[in-house]
Each structure stands twice: as structure tokens, then as C-alpha cells.
């Protein structure tokens, strides 16, 4: 990872540390939108996998 003089991680053009607003927005979106979406997606995927396994191998749950 390239480091800037200040020791902060450097990314693309907007290298310098992001503003508080921006970081907060990222955090809120991650915590309240992405996280629930992932949770839902993971459970749904789990459900589908179990369902398909039931169709293919397991048969109806006992």
C-alpha cells in the first residue's frame, strides 16, 4: 500500500483523508443499508440452498 507523507493510506485521486461528512455517510450507509441487505441476502441464499438440497437429495424435512 502506498503511504502518503503523513502515513495515511492513499487511494485514488481524493487521497487526503475524507471529510467527516463523507465518512459518516459511508458509515451510515454501510451500517443501515448494506448490512441489512447482506443479512437478508445471506439468509435468502441459505434458504434457497436448503430448498435446492431438499429437491435434489434430502427430500422434505423430517
Amino acid at each position: 500500500m502506498r503511504k502518503s507523507a503523513a502515513g495515511l493510506p492513499a487511494g485514488a485521486a481524493d487521497d487526503a483523508a475524507p471529510s467527516l461528512r463523507r465518512e459518516l455517510a459511508t458509515f451510515l450507509i454501510l451500517a443501515f443499508v448494506v448490512l441489512p441487505a447482506l443479512l437478508f441476502g445471506a439468509v435468502a441464499a441459505y434458504g434457497f440452498v436448503v430448498w435446492f438440497l431438499q429437491i435434489l437429495y434430502l427430500g422434505p424435512p423430517t
Partner: protein, 408 residues
Amino acid sequence: MKRLLAFIRDLFLRPSARIGLGVLVVGGFVAGAVAWQGFNTAMEATNEEAFCLTCHTMRDNLLPELQKTVHWSNRTGVRARCPDCHVPHEFTDKVARKMQASREVLGQLVGTIGTREKFNEHRIVLARREWRRLNANGSRECRACHDYKDMDFDRMRPASQVAMRAAAERDQSCIGCHKGIAHQLPDLKGEHNPAFDTLVSAAAGQGVEEGDEYYAILPRPLYRDAALTQPVGTIEVAARVKVLETQGDAQRVELELWRKNKGYGRVWYSHFGLNIVSAILEKEISRDEDLVTVLEAREDPLTGLEWQQVKAEVWLAAESLLDSPEEIWTIARSSYNESCSTCHRQPDEAHFDANAWPGLFAGMVGFTSLDDDTAKVVLKYLQTHSADFRGTAHGADPTLGVVQTARP
């Protein structure tokens, strides 16, 4: 793509520059709690009866039926809601079931069972799925509310006691006996057993040699001509025929069967003295000497009736025959084991003789959900595996040897 990866990496690996760790932890905790609560709320909301009933097919067809039953309104005021019976109560199975519902949502959008007629037509398929599910899990959903271990059999109605005690002893699945407790039973008459489809496709792949013997897979109409226009009767399931020739989609076959020399003599049996129906001819045809040749006559000492061995050459549609009845018996055996074992152990096939089975069977078949065709196959199976045939290969002439003395 690369930028996306970099973005995700940064998202997780780059420490925050402005927000304090505490804020992150507290924020994350709150977000987690909210998400979890939201998830549970969603799971519960989709497990509400009201949610089930938002689909009009459910509200119009199933609700009015349930409302007539004890599970809707009763002395004790305990209600069974749709999900109590239909949605598994454990997490994994429940989630799987909810994902399975995606197919139901699709069905709703496409309108698979959008009208009462379509619903009634499709109903048996749906019911079979529920029966299969409840059979597999031992009716776990019913038992969340009423289980054997909590039942006081002495206080049941006398009619219930014997059956229910026996069921508890064997820890049987409720649905084996209690079908149609919440909704009308699907119309089973004229219903068609999906297992027969495999027979039909097996028969389609069956090579047929002229002069060899084959077995009819299902009841099929018989004709006098190769164009299949003049019907003469029907051949019954698993009846044995000899193929004489194939012409396009039709086959000329020889029937060599027995009949009672009485009345029209239109019911033909597979063996002398045994009421195993193999073909039923039209009454104008059965005495027609152009079609039917009498080979031999013999008196049945038990009934004093004269039996005639008769022969006829008739046409039937191709792809109706198999070279062995075993595949038919496999289907019959599993139907028998499944349908006739719910109240008592299914009797040994050879415990009764071929002429006793029809009466016994007729008295019992009403208790089961067998459709007409399957019931016929099962009866045929029982007769051909009855005491009369014990020790003889199927199809061998049971009148030779011990058979006559094996009858009561």
C-alpha cells in the same frame, strides 16, 4: 472491476480518519440490533395469516373452507392459523419454506391457479405436496399443538379411542388418517397417478416382437379394425396379450382368456375359476362368433358355473404394452404399502385368495385416497399375488397343482 475491488478493500481495511472508534462500535451495535429486529419483524409479518390471505387465491378458496372447521372456531378458543399448519416452525426449514414461496409468488403473478376452476384442477398436486411434507416430518406442525404424549385417550369419543391409541403406539403421522381436516379434499375421482407416466414412457420405448407376450400398462380401448374406429371393449391393466402384428400406430393382439358362460359373457378373466378381470367387451361383441372363438369349456366345481376359454384378435393403440408386469407391480406395491397401512398393517398379499380380494378390497378402498386407476392396479396386484399364486410364477396357470385345494 479492479476499482470495485480496491473500493471494497478500502472500505474494510482503511481505518476511519474522522469518526471515533466508540462511535463506530456503538453505531455498529445499534445497526445490528435494528437489523436483527427488522429481520424478525419481517419473518413474523410474513408468518401472519393476513399475509397469506393477501393472495386472493388463498382468501377465496382456502379461507371459507377453514372457517367451517373446528380449527377456526371451537369451544376452547384456540385457533390454528394457516402458518401454524403450513410453515415449519424451525429456523432452517422455515427459511427454506419461505424461499420456496418465491415459486408461489411467481404462480400468483402468472395466474397458475388464478380462478376457482384452475385451483380445483391443480389442487391435488398441492395437496400431495403437503401430504408428502407432513408424512416426512411426522406431522410435526400438528403436534406442536396436539401430541400423543399429552392426549387422554379415555376422554376421546369411543370412535376415536381404538384408532388413536394404535396410532400413538406406532407414533404415526397424523396426516395418514386425518386428511382434509382443514380444507375440502381434492377431487380424487378420475385423478391420474403421476407414477403411471413412467409406465407410459417405458411402454413408448418397449420394442415389440410379433408372436411374443406382453402386458397392458393401463386400461386401454380395444378395436375391431386397424384404424381404431370400431370399439369392442377395453383391456384391463396388466392383462396379458400376444402381439400378432404392428401396423403404424396400431397393434393386432390375441387375447386368450376365460369367461363365465352366463349372460353376455362380456367380462373376461385371466385364469380359469379366478375373478381376475382382464378385459371387458361390449355386449354386442362378446357373443359375436366372427370375433370370439371358444376353445374349451370346463365346469368350476365350486360354483357349478361353466367357464369357457375364449380367444379373440383385436386391435389396440401401439405403445400400450410392456414385456413384463414387474414395473406395474412395483407401482402397485408402493401404493398398497402406503395406502393400506395407515390403520392396520397391510395384510400379506397371499393371506387371501384371488376371489376373496375384490370383496375385501371394495370394503376398504373407500378409506383411502387411491384414485380409480391406481385402485384397479392395486387390486390386480393383490389378486395376482394372492394365495392362488403362491409358489407359482406370475402368469403360470394356477389351476395346475395345489391351487384348487388352497381355496377355503
